[in-house]
């Protein structure tokens, strides 16, 4: 990539040469205000990065795209920051990556929704202190025309609905990103006795919001958490074709890395964020979140309740 830069320089040189030929003797100079602005910007950036061990050391929260895309974190994170003074950096990735970031100590807290995978990490001892935060549920969304005829059999289970989609070869968009939603979808395909694949099965490899948009544009079915679906509903040509199957429960837990294994994590900050997420204030915020905009709550607070599984 050296070449284009050379050509660039050639262009600039050419212009300079011409302007000098016209009798303009002043050398090209950085305009002072621009330099000042750049310096100020640089200082500002430095100031924004707190040093290691400072009382306001940032807490890194690794979480799933569904909590981010639904807008819940935009409510909870500022609330936490105001109460404790810890700045939070949120990394929204698939559940698989979020758990791995936590286990490697690259995140101080993880908020995820894949109970089976979470238990694996608890088993190895990499993550500790798992606490129930909230739940909502998954729904099967599909095009209004419902080519697989899922609405016509209202008593069906999620697994049987997926079976129908496969049998009719109706398009289905999978997250395909090892997220909690993707893991749930894979479990349902397994229950349906189908190994998904072929022209009708698309893997987006993207977050829930992008995947819903793709499903809508492609007139395809997709498995989505209710929260993100409600948040995106207005922009989508997708309806809920199946809901209410107990197999579609979507449970969120918060966990944090074992500080003995990965000493560089922000232990106090991580614990503070965990405590906050299960505190009455956060739970009350979760309960009312989305009611005003979407007419229904997107998540149901569960702190202190017995484990569902």
């Amino acid at each position: 990539m050296g070449q284009p830069r050379l050509a660039d320089r050639g262009q600039a040189g050419g212009r300079r040469g011409r302007s000098r030929a016209r009798g303009d003797r002043t050398r090209p100079r950085w305009p002072a205000p621009a330099v000042a602005a750049l310096v100020a910007l640089g200082l500002g950036l430095l100031e924004g990065a707190p040093g290691q061990g400072a009382p306001d050391r940032a807490v890194i929260l690794a979480t799933t795209t569904s909590t981010q895309d639904s807008g819940l974190l935009d409510l909870l994170v500022p609330l936490f920051e105001r109460r404790t003074g810890y700045p939070v950096r949120t990394v929204a990735v698939g559940t698989g990556a979020a758990l791995r970031l936590g286990a490697d100590g690259d995140a101080d807290v993880v908020l995820v929704h894949a109970p089976a995978l979470e238990r694996e990490y608890l088993g190895t001892g990499a993550l500790i202190d798992r606490r129930l935060v909230m739940h909502n549920d998954f729904v099967l969304a599909g095009p209004p025309a419902d080519p697989a005829g899922i609405r016509r059999r209202p008593a069906g289970t999620a697994a049987s609905a997926l079976g129908q989609i496969a049998r009719t070869g109706s398009r289905f968009v999978s997250r395909g990103d090892r997220s909690g939603t993707h893991l749930k979808e894979q479990a349902l395909w397994k229950a349906a006795g189908v190994v998904p694949g072929g022209d009708w099965y698309l893997e987006s490899g993207q977050g829930m919001g992008a995947t819903l948009t793709i499903a809508s544009e492609k007139r395809a079915y997709t498995l989505t958490d209710r929260g993100t679906y409600l948040a995106f509903r207005r922009r989508l040509e997708l309806g809920i074709v199946l809901e209410g199957d107990p197999a579609l429960a979507n449970v969120y837990h918060v966990l944090r890395p074992d500080p003995v294994r990965v000493p560089r994590v922000n232990v106090a900050g991580g614990r503070a964020l965990e405590d906050f997420l299960v505190s009455p204030a956060a739970q009350a915020a979760i309960e009312t979140f989305g009611v005003e905009t979407h007419g229904a709550p997107l998540f149901f607070p569960d702190a202190g309740k017995p484990e569902p599984e």
């Binding site: 990539m1 050509a7 050639g10 262009q11 698939g94 395909g176 090892r178 544009e217 040509e237």
Partner: protein, 231 residues
Amino acid sequence: MALVGDGLRQAFWLLAGGDADVFGITLRSLEISGAATGLSLLLGIPLGVALALGRFPGRGLAISLVNTGMGLPPVVVGLFVSILLWRSGPFGFLEWIYTPIAMVLAQLVIAAPIVTGLTLAAIQQIPDRFRLQMRGLGASRGQLLWVLLREARLPMLAAAMAGFGGVISEVGASLMVGGNIRGQTRVLTTATVLAASKGNFDVAIALSVLLLAIMFLVNAALTWIQQRRAP
């Protein structure tokens, strides 16, 4: 650092083993970015020449626009191409969104200003006196154009490289308009993002190494042509 070593080893096995997925992704990257670069040359070279040699009202503004376009943020391009191609958009009826065609279009929008701008610079580098002399020797407009393009061929090769390098390494627009659909619109950059977000950092490194290798090979080939023909 062990991660990088694992990644390199993984990259070797993915390539040596002829992994069908990786092979398909690589081929698709080359096809899409190659097509976009080719089209951007068809569009950008005549435009760059016209801007360099033409004298018409609005030329200064047009050049400023091209220079701005050389640094067009891919996500902005992705957003606008998406809005145009979504079913709710004016070109939704084409059903191009989330297809390789949409990706070629977006990449064309990114690469065309780069090619135009660098072509413009390449032609302008040739001294005015050279043109006057050619005219004086009785060259027709067509002959003059041909000679100028021949003179500018090396910097224009750089334009092709810059265009290709810009689009094959671009991820924002490809993700937005292509959708990163496996086997259809998944390319090296979007596959790398996905691998990293899955926590498969070794695969992500492997794909990055592949991308770098491709860019090196393409640039090396073009540089070889350039140096061989150089006087």
